[in-house]
């Protein structure tokens, strides 16, 4: 072989390898699925249900101080190590946890909680009222400045009444106070703790070892206050940076549970043997919003034209593959049941009408817009579908996909004229009113300001009468559909999968709050 052709072969080989590497990296998790092991015994699970090890795949955690956690994975770890005072179940209802029961004064300003007498921290110290007082005082201390300071600014006083009773006094009524007490950060820590690296909680699992960016290994806490709980012997949280890698680990049996699946991942796992899939409705949603304080969004006809131009069903089918719920341009989704009003009519899908409305608003020759999109979830897909649907009505949308840290960095997202933002699920809707839509709210990204809206939001946020509250939320939805600045195309579901061996797994809207106390794994 002469010199030239040798080089030719080497170069071609090199390039083929490069392209192959490209293809491989592109395929990522696409490597042929390893068939998961058949479930042990197809009939009823074995009699000895307790024991067993559950390996859970989540993204790596960074923060271990409950007051500072934010990622789902961090909350998942904290929820296993610590306890909440009260908990929220999969049906969005308040349940006792460390508090066995509670009373509310007639004026709705004083809450008295009775604590279990059996709880103790993993170092052996009994958990008492002073730990609860310390926890919530820490969370609301403006000098410490945690994310919860605003949330708890309505608390005027927290007092221990003996060892096993705590009294919270509020400044004004708050119909959602129990939900606030079950905020993701509100895990009870030991009085005086400032260093949280030893994971000294009172929760169902004790940390045996923590290797950052690799895994956390936990054992069932022997002295947990609820007898017979947890049912597992070991809980291992294994870190994966990429969900598709976690899905492959599930297929190969390396892990037993994977959270935060995308719709395509869920759909393909659904069809596989040995895997169980879970879907829970949530109130997480993407917001497509046009700033209301500057042209063209200061004319409500423009966003209304958009509402008429889009085909919600098509968006839902294409982008979400029909999973979740179709949105109605308000942050109040079907998960909120009584607060949700499905009977308020949305503008009909009417492209010609949208075109005319846009012309009436002063854009007879169409409107050029740049849509800023964080590269997260399926937002780029959503943008592509919106672009093509809006084009029919005369909107010429240019898409700019940005890394998430660029979109959200330096609060740039609050200034973007036209963008898509992701909002997480909350157990009650008032949060969205208070931080997203009232005049001057902290994250009022659409710069919306409407006196009537603010008045109704005030009623909804303070009234102790459920009927008045529901009426206010219905009015709010009417206002947003009529003249609001946002399009909410759909609500995301929470999607997860486990192997067939996993039982009694109740996925929660916020997956970090999934309760592992009931879970069992048949061996």
């Amino acid at each position: 072989m002469n010199r030239l052709s040798t080089r030719l072969v080497v170069r071609t080989l090199g390039l083929s390898l490069l392209t192959a590497a490209f293809l491989l990296s592109a395929c990522g998790g696409a490597a042929s699925p390893v068939p998961s092991q058949p479930p042990a015994g197809t009939g009823a699970p074995a009699a000895s249900m307790s024991g067993g090890t559950l390996n859970v795949a989540v993204k790596a955690i960074v923060n271990v101080d409950p007051a500072q956690i934010s990622a789902d994975s961090e909350i998942l770890v904290a929820n296993a190590v610590y306890d909440y005072l009260v908990d929220v179940d999969a049906n969005n209802k308040i349940q006792p946890r460390l508090a066995t029961d509670w009373t509310v004064s007639d004026d709705g300003l004083t809450y008295t909680f009775n604590l279990t007498h059996d709880a103790s921290f993993h170092d052996g110290t009994p958990l008492t009222a002073k730990d609860v007082v310390y926890t919530f005082n820490r969370l609301r201390d403006p000098d410490l400045g945690f994310a919860t300071v605003d949330l708890y600014s309505n608390i005027s006083d927290i007092q221990a009444d003996g060892d096993y009773s705590v009294v919270f006094t509020l400044k004004t009524t708050n119909p959602f106070f129990l939900f606030d007490l079950s905020d993701n950060h509100a895990l009870v820590v030991k009085d005086g703790t400032t260093d949280f690296t030893d994971f000294n909680g009172s929760g169902p699992f004790t940390v045996v070892s923590y290797t950052p960016e690799d895994r956390i290994e936990m054992d069932a806490s022997s002295g947990y206050f609820q007898s017979g709980s947890p049912k597992l012997a070991h809980l291992n949280i294994v870190f994966f940076q990429d969900t598709s890698a976690a899905v492959d680990a599930l297929r190969s049996g390396d892990v037993d549970a994977v959270f935060g699946l995308s719709a395509p991942q869920y759909k393909s796992l659904q069809a596989e043997a040995g895997v169980q899939t879970y879907l829970t409705s949530t109130n997480a949603f993407p917001v497509v919003r046009l700033r209301a304080d500057q042209p063209p969004g200061d004319d409500p006809r423009v966003i209304k034209a958009m509402r008429m131009a889009i085909d919600r069903q098509a968006i839902f089918d294409l982008v979400q593959q029909g999973l979740g719920a179709i949105g109605r341009d308000t942050p109040i989704g079907p998960m909120y049941q009584d607060f949700y009003a499905e009977d308020i009519p949305l503008p009909q899908h009417d492209v010609a009408g949208a075109k005319k409305l846009l012309a009436d608003a002063g854009y007879p020759n169409g409107l050029d817009l740049t849509l800023r999109v964080p590269d997260a979830q399926n937002f780029p897909d959503l943008a592509a579908v919106l672009k093509s649907q809006l084009a029919e009505a005369g909107f010429n949308v240019e898409i700019s996909v940005e890394p998430e840290n660029v979109y959200y960095g330096n609060n740039g997202w609050l200034e973007a004229p036209f963008g898509i933002t992701g909002w997480g699920s909350r157990p009650y809707p008032q949060f969205y009113m208070d931080v997203m839509l009232t005049c001057g709210a902290k994250w009022n990204e659409s710069h919306f300001c409407d006196q009537e809206f603010d008045r109704q939001a005030e009623i909804a946020g303070t009234s102790l009468d459920p009927a008045a509250q529901a009426a206010a939320y219905h009015e709010i939805q009417k206002i947003l559909i009529e003249r609001g600045p946002i399009i909410v195309p759909f609500f995301f579901p929470q999607l997860a999968a486990t192997t067939d061996q996993v039982q009694d797994f109740n996925l929660k809207p916020f997956f970090g709050r999934t309760d592992f106390r009931t879970v069992t794994v048949s061996q």
Binding site: R11, A26, A30, S262, P264, A314, L318, D381, S388, E402
Partner: protein, 294 residues
């Protein structure tokens, strides 16, 4: 030998350009690898030129009912998750990627050639400074440099173009410079200098023709890597923006639902691989032809 070619080319004693091109083409087809490469390249060129006339669907035309369909007689390459025809997108994407890579290469070659000629011929401080600067650019992996630039410029077509130019100009300049160094002391350059020809005339009329064979090979090689770079940037999501039918971007998008519709990934990825390998085989053939001529 090289200077003989150059010298005779400038005197016009050799066959006409048309005849030379024809002969070069015949020689490219004399060996099967370069014949394959050339055919593939021509085919892609044709697709890029005529794509809009034979793509059955628009690049962003979404057919809701047809989402994630396997290849059929209607959708030759199947459809993606938004119900877009993958065949149409691959065909329409050819123009995007080839024009972007081609234009970027062209500018990089023009700029690199000029700088290489000047630097090599002038030598001394200018040469030293420029080459050390280029060395520092070349010390960085191309993709890293590209990401750095795109981070500052923001993702867009023009930024990608700029990136190709910045990444490939130093490489071209070095190749040209090395040829210039061997040529500049030859008699015909000396003669031109003695005759009092201007610097531009010496560089472009006397020296440039000698660099052409090496330049042609380098340009075609850069072109194949430029295709790869554009695709990689698209794949990383920092290049051409959606919903453009950019092949790299299509691979990135298809990756998230590959279990459901693998064809949406394989076809654009295959197109990238085929285009890169095709152009590369052609450039190897070109090298062989030019060396034979020398």
């Amino acid at each position: 030998m090289l200077e003989d070619v150059a010298a005779s080319a400038s005197t016009g004693a050799f066959p006409t350009q048309g005849q030379r091109l024809w002969r070069a083409l015949r020689q490219l087809y004399a060996q099967s690898p370069s014949a394959f490469g050339t055919t593939v390249f021509m085919l892609f060129l044709l697709i890029a030129l005529l794509g809009p006339w034979f793509a059955p669907y628009g690049s962003n035309q979404q057919i809701v009912a047809d989402a994630r369909q396997a290849p059929t007689a209607v959708h030759w390459f199947g459809t993606d998750n938004l119900g877009r025809d993958v065949f149409s997108r691959v065909v329409l994407g050819a123009r995007d990627i080839l024009s972007l890579a081609g234009l970027g290469t062209l500018v990089a070659v023009a700029l690199g050639t000029s700088l290489g000629l000047i630097s090599g011929y002038l030598g001394r401080f200018f040469d030293e400074a420029l080459m050390r600067f280029f060395d520092s650019l070349l010390a960085m992996p191309a993709l890293l440099l590209a990401l750095l630039l795109l981070g500052t410029l923001g993702p867009s077509r023009n930024s990608v173009l700029m990136v190709i130019v910045v990444v490939y100009t130093p490489i071209v300049a070095r190749v040209v410079r090395s040829v210039v160094l061997t040529v500049k002391s030859k008699a015909f350059v000396e003669a031109a200098r003695v005759q009092g020809e201007s610097l531009a005339a010496i560089l472009f009329r006397e020296i440039l023709p000698s660099t052409l064979p090496a330049l042609a090979v380098e340009a075609s090689l850069r072109f194949s890597y430029a295709i790869f770079l554009v695709a990689s940037l698209g794949f990383l999501g920092v290049g051409v923006q959606p919903p453009s039918p950019d092949w790299g971007l299509m691979v990135k998008e298809a990756r998230s639902y590959v279990d459901q519709a693998p064809w949406a990934l394989y076809f654009p990825a295959g197109a990238i691989a085929l285009a890169v390998i095709g152009v590369n085989l052609m450039s190897d053939g070109l090298k062989r032809v030019l060396q034979a001529e020398g």
